[in-house]
């Protein structure tokens, strides 16, 4: 019972973090692309349709070259990650799904998942992206 209570607390925290994060992420991606890289950890890794991009500099270049986007999110799911797996660094798994239109390309359904880690600051907790995995659902037809 004690475990269940703790787990529920973690779930509530994860849900709030995930909902806030998803709103910020996709709005920044669509409208303030140049600021997107600030959401990532220094050593973060993006896997974009199987292509690996590692490090802030590579991420900045990648997002610069990505055509402008219009994201619509249809699904959001999240789970707290077990502390034994994260060496006591509070981590949340966020999973999204929806539709995206990149400028000059047709519309695609996509899945994306993030690992967010909590970074403590004096004022509040800031969630940063440690891992980002993006994939089109219809990748084979590209």
């Amino acid at each position: 019972m004690a475990l269940a209570v703790n787990f529920k607390t973690y779930v509530d925290q994860a849900c709030r973090a995930a909902e806030e994060f998803v709103n910020i992420y996709y709005e920044t991606m669509d409208k303030r692309r140049h600021a997107l890289v600030r959401l990532y950890l220094d050593k973060a890794t993006l896997i974009w349709n199987g292509n690996v991009v590692t490090g802030l500099e590579a991420l900045a270049n990648f997002f610069e070259m990505l055509p402008s986007s219009e994201f619509q999110i249809n699904m959001l799911d999240c789970q707290p990650v077990h502390e034994q797996a994260t060496q006591c660094q509070t981590t949340v798994l966020v999973v999204t799904s929806g539709v995206v239109k990149f400028d000059g390309n047709k519309q695609h359904f996509f899945n994306q998942n993030f690992l967010l880690t909590a970074q403590s600051t004096p004022n509040s907790t800031v969630w940063k992206i440690a891992s980002d995995c993006f994939r089109f659902q219809d990748w084979a037809s590209i």
């Binding site: 798994l93 000059g104 899945n111």
Partner: protein, 620 residues
């Protein structure tokens, strides 16, 4: 000064004696350096202002021409004849002077005389056209249609028109003849207007030989022979040039023309040209660089005053690899860097560096429609060990998952693992309503109508997870459709995702589903425990179904068939139970014996008796 010139021109038509005296007077003016400098200064001031003075001069020219034509009385006839005679003399002088210019100083004076003559025989050509027209292509059409070859002088173009000067009547007449004979892609005819004009600015302000020599010396000091690089940064303030009173304002056509001429004659291998900090606000004078330095690869135009990226169209023929534009007003006219890059690449598609930063994916940028990075099927950031571990795990997991009993999954989940399932829900999509089989709880069924976007179940502890998974429909996963990504890895933790297709069995109608699964696993010495499991199930598109079964199976899966039949699944499970071997080895044994259960059992018993089966084949 301009008005004086006009009066002199007018005066020339009425007085024979005075006409002959005027050229001599001009010669004296040329010799005087003070007077010459003063004249140049006046013209600089003119170019600093609007174009109106040129128009006024042009109108004046027209008026003079009409005045002559409208007075054909007997009294004036002899003067017309004399005028033609003088033209012929000028042509002879020009030919003579050109041939011997560098040999005798005296001839140079004659050259100046010819320049004076040129002042009265120029024509301005104007081609009005909209911004959509390709100016380079239009000029090519004009050149090809014109019966007389010509070199445009002081070529200028903006979004609405092309304007240049030609030095004699024959060219002007030939250009007038092709007016309305060129049409654009919309089949609209394009007019060409030709009018008599004063000499273009660069001709009036052509550099003297001494000035050219001084400029050449200054430029030599700025040329890096090893790099084939010429630095003309802040050329206006070059100490040598300032000492000799040479004002190198590169916006002025005569200054740029002199510079390009020296580049063509003295630096034929030039690769890199730095024109930064020269207050350039347009690039009309730089158009000739395409012909005079076509091999140029690196161009620095930073810290100038260029306002629109359209100015770059004037150098479209260069095959630049590096370009600097930062510090120009045009940079702030773009909403983001990618549209800025896109606009520049339209003029220089072979560019690989812009403002010192490497452009990613140049091959992709070359295509007209910007394409996204091509997806890869599988990617493993980790080592080969991790890759094999993940493959082994997935085989084991989905063989158990596809079996009738899913109880074996208990050994794979951590005690405090959690699991969630998500499916998209759209009341308008009747196919998706078949997803109801995933919600067997009565409460969920009662609240079915309240689901708007998605329904989510979150299970905690492995007992609840396996109980939930056992309630889902029976499945048969297509291993060949799997796409695996290792998203994140630490010493003790691994996060990986799997996408693929599976067939649902035991439902009223068998159907194919698409799924994405995210696992977070604790890494042990030889096994993995799942602590997080997220499952997303949806209906696939027909394209996905077709392409999935066309993709060849990865080599690491070569030991397994694409989809095991239900009967074969049961055989594997039973064989594993009886023999104590792991599922994958049980399956291999059955496959080796062509799914003959009795024979496989016989072979297994024989090998076991001889102690030929390794320990790791068996369950722990």
């Amino acid at each position: 000064m301009c008005s004086n010139e006009r009066k002199q021109g007018s005066f020339r038509y009425t007085g024979t004696t005075n006409a002959w005296q005027s050229p001599m007077g001009r010669k004296k003016d040329r010799v005087s350096s003070l007077s010459y400098a003063g004249k140049r200064t006046d013209h600089y001031e003119h170019t600093g202002h609007t174009i109106l003075p040129f128009k006024a001069q042009s109108d004046g020219g027209n008026l003079e021409m009409r005045a002559v034509l409208w007075n054909p009385s007997v009294r004036h006839t002899p003067y017309v004849g004399q005028h033609r005679s003088r033209e012929e003399e000028h042509m002879e002088d020009q030919i003579h002077v050109t041939a011997q210019r560098d040999d005798k100083p005296e001839q140079r004076e004659a050259g100046q005389f010819t320049e004076d003559g040129e002042l009265g025989s120029w024509f301005k050509v104007t081609v009005p056209c909209g911004r959509k027209y390709d100016k380079t292509q239009l000029m090519n059409s004009i050149h090809s249609l014109c019966s007389v070859p010509f070199t445009p002088v002081d070529f200028h173009c903006d979004k609405h028109r092309i304007q240049f000067f030609v030095p004699d009547f024959r060219i002007a007449s030939a250009l007038k003849d092709i007016s309305y004979k060129i049409h654009n892609e919309y089949f609209q005819k394009i007019p060409i207007f030709v009018n008599p004009s004063v000499a273009p600015y660069s001709v009036q302000n052509r550099f003297t030989k001494e000035e050219m020599e001084q400029l050449k010396l200054a430029m030599r000091k700025r040329y890096d022979v090893s790099q084939h690089a010429l630095c003309l940064k802040k050329l206006r303030f070059d100490p040598d040039l300032m000492k000799n009173n040479i004002h190198m304002i590169l916006n002025h056509r005569s200054c740029m023309a002199a510079t390009l001429q020296i580049i063509q004659e003295n630096f034929p291998k030039l690769l890199s040209l730095n024109l930064s900090s020269n207050k350039l606000f347009q690039l009309d004078s730089l158009i000739d660089v395409v012909k005079k330095a076509p091999q140029l690869k690196i161009l620095n135009l930073s810290k100038n005053m260029l306002r629109t990226v359209w100015e770059l169209e004037k150098m479209k023929g260069l095959k630049l690899e590096q370009l600097w534009l930062e510090g120009n007003p045009l940079c702030s006219t773009f909403p983001d860097r990618s549209s800025y890059i896109r606009a520049v690449l339209e003029c220089f598609p072979e560019l690989s560096y812009l403002d010192g930063r490497k452009l990613l994916l140049p091959t992709v940028m070359n295509t007209q429609e910007r394409k996204l990075m091509k997806p890869c099927k599988d990617i493993f950031m980790g080592s080969e060990v991790i890759k094999n571990q993940v493959h082994r795990f997935l085989r084991e997991y989905y063989l158990m998952y596809d079996s009738e009993e899913r109880q074996g999954l208990l050994n794979i989940y951590h005690d405090q693992a959690c699991f969630s399932l998500t499916i998209p829900f759209n009341p308008n999509d009747p196919d998706l309503n078949s997803m109801y089989v995933y919600f067997k709880d009565e409460n969920d069924m009662k609240n079915f109508k309240e689901f708007h976007i998605q329904r989510q179940l979150l299970k905690y502890t492995k007992q609840d997870i396996v109980e939930c998974l056992r309630g889902f429909p029976q499945t048969l996963h297509a291993f060949s459709s799997f796409q695996v990504n290792i998203c994140f890895q630490m010493e003790t933790m691994l996060c990986f995702s799997v996408c693929g297709l599976f067939k649902e069995e035991g439902t009223p109608k068998e159907c194919v589903r698409a799924f994405m699964r995210i696992f977070i696993a604790l890494l042990g010495s030889s096994n993995m425990y799942i602590v997080n499991d997220q499952l997303f199930v949806r209906n696939p598109s027909s394209e996905e179904i077709n392409s999935a079964f066309v993709i060849p199976s990865p080599t690491s899966y070569s030991n397994f068939k694409l989809v095991l039949s239900q009967e074969q699944q049961r055989m594997v499970q039973a064989f594993s139970t009886q023999s104590g071997m792991k599922l994958e080895w049980s399956q291999k044994c059955l496959e080796d014996n062509k799914w003959d259960y009795a024979r496989a059992a016989e072979v297994f018993t024989m090998l076991q008796t001889k102690c030929k089966i390794p320990k790791e084949f068996f369950k722990q």
